[in-house]
Point group: C2
Chain length 381, copies 2
Amino acid sequence: MANIENPSDFDLKVFGRQLISARRRWPIISWRAASTTFKSTDLQVELNKQPKKKPAVSELLFEGMKAYRGEDNQVRLFRPMMNMERMHRTAHRACLPAFDRAELLECLRRLIDIDREWVPKSTTASLYIRPTFIGTEPSLGVTKSNHALLYIILGPVGPYFPTGGFTPVSLLADPKYVRAWTGGVGNYKLGGNYGPTIYVQNAASKEGCQQVLWLYGNDHQVTEAGTMNFFIEGTCDSTIKRFNPPWSNETKSAGPGATGEFKVSERTFTMADVLKGLKDNRVKEIFGAGTACVVCPVNRIFYDGENYLIPTMENGPDIAKRFLKELTDIQFSRIIEHVPIIIYAAVHVCMLFADRLFAKKKKVKETCPFEIRVKSKSMGL
Amino acid sequence: MANIENPSDFDLKVFGRQLISARRRWPIISWRAASTTFKSTDLQVELNKQPKKKPAVSELLFEGMKAYRGEDNQVRLFRPMMNMERMHRTAHRACLPAFDRAELLECLRRLIDIDREWVPKSTTASLYIRPTFIGTEPSLGVTKSNHALLYIILGPVGPYFPTGGFTPVSLLADPKYVRAWTGGVGNYKLGGNYGPTIYVQNAASKEGCQQVLWLYGNDHQVTEAGTMNFFIEGTCDSTIKRFNPPWSNETKSAGPGATGEFKVSERTFTMADVLKGLKDNRVKEIFGAGTACVVCPVNRIFYDGENYLIPTMENGPDIAKRFLKELTDIQFSRIIEHVPIIIYAAVHVCMLFADRLFAKKKKVKETCPFEIRVKSKSMGL
């Protein structure tokens, strides 16, 4: 990974392989067992120090966020408090110390303010943000850490699709690989959930597929695509529009469902449901959505030895494009009139708070063919 | 963790919190993508360098081994090739580079030869060995590492039970916590399998228990106790003697089953089986066995809101003690007449190779009430 000294030197064509010069830019927040909660006075943001400690047993957790520069030259985050909330939940599960979510967000905001020139002047690129939290207990035993290290990595990233258009991906759906399970930790952003997926991603490549569609259970429930939420758009009947089980990985941060244009139905569905929907020509589009790719159409699923073609691209993809537009309009503040912007340190950095956004957003009245049905089934932990 | 400069300075009363001085003792074997397999010429053992890299996404794996100083002052490992085999399997699953198992063992042997004075002159203490292998790909993406780092941490450890006697532990058996699952990676020694157990270990403490008995499935199959294999000794009928499922954590390295004294039946059994065995007074002893504790008796299981007392201590525990004696007799070479010792670099260091040991061991003829039934059911991956 290249360490880049100057904002104008970075190459937007590669994702996540460039960091802002490590000599200057690793902010470190270190914690000792003296307190159990971060307070602003406990926070140490050491810009001149590179983290050297390794997690002892793999109490490693992280978040993935982006900062966007709007056409008004303001820099914004997208619903950052939801990332703080998930990071806080994950820290609890990892037995790492609790922290004040608003304080951490304020640290992050200050860091980005300092580094604001690194946020690309582009509406298709952004600054990727990787808050990371590791246990650094100096013991070989599997015990709760009394030492922890929280640091944030920044690096500019270009558009996931360099052409600006949609490039569809194919998915391997093989039930022998299980990413998350009832009673486990798949609903937390723990490092240990990601390492084992590389092998499965390689298996997908060997089968000529680009990503993994993770299945679960004897009935082959559909859960996630790669590290993205999985969406199906189709004509109404029992077909499911969106599925994001409680033990899955992603927050519900993405999605026009929360912006007002779409309503999203979330419930359990199986590969049999998907195949029946395809056979009956009721499935119009399938796509994934996540922080890195934003929205990613799916054109093929390889399952049980057969290729199933998905007519996503043939159908526009109308919904996926609207979904992408809605998301990026918020991220780059093109629908700024709908949302209040919380400006902090004046100058170039400001942030959009999820909760305020949610409270004040203007309702977009539009035909909404989808019913909201959020499952409250308690899986994960 | 204290770094200790002198072999006579270490405190054997704490487990895994002392390392041999990090300034001198971190051997590093680093690998670049130029080759996909370690060869002796590729190996770099750098004794003067402390590892500074962190795993990118948590491709972290490790082994746990010990070196023992026998009464003859020779230093031995216990079936080390089985650890090399498991580490090799785990590296494959983690998409880290393959290595030559015998070469790595030879590196380890040389390292211990150099540090042989750190192996305690005691038949109740040993040198703990933690081979660790991490992906150090400098990318934020979830991708196969082209850079990896293999290093070995050493630290003297005292007896798990300072008194030399058995101190029984109680277990929390709560099916809502699932450690390993079909289709997952619980059968590999990946760091990500261990971090999440700390929370559950804390939950056990809150319930007044010392360890976790991991259950699996709707029928509450018994899998592991903490990080130990789980053993039941009882009068014959359908009661199971030992259970070590293919997706579990531990190798089959431990256990007199492989030494000839005992035969061990391995098969799936449930909490209902255990409770029925207890009710019928057929369960005599329950204990765990692993590298750290060697053998650890169980006197209570808290399950479904009830405490179930286990008569392990009331029954001696005869089998657990014989089991411990058999294991430590091999480890400290008190049954040296049964096994060939492969002496390498002459002087003080020699090693016991698992495969040669297995091939030449003298059979101990003794009443063996246990049937061997190794399940070949393919779970895990």
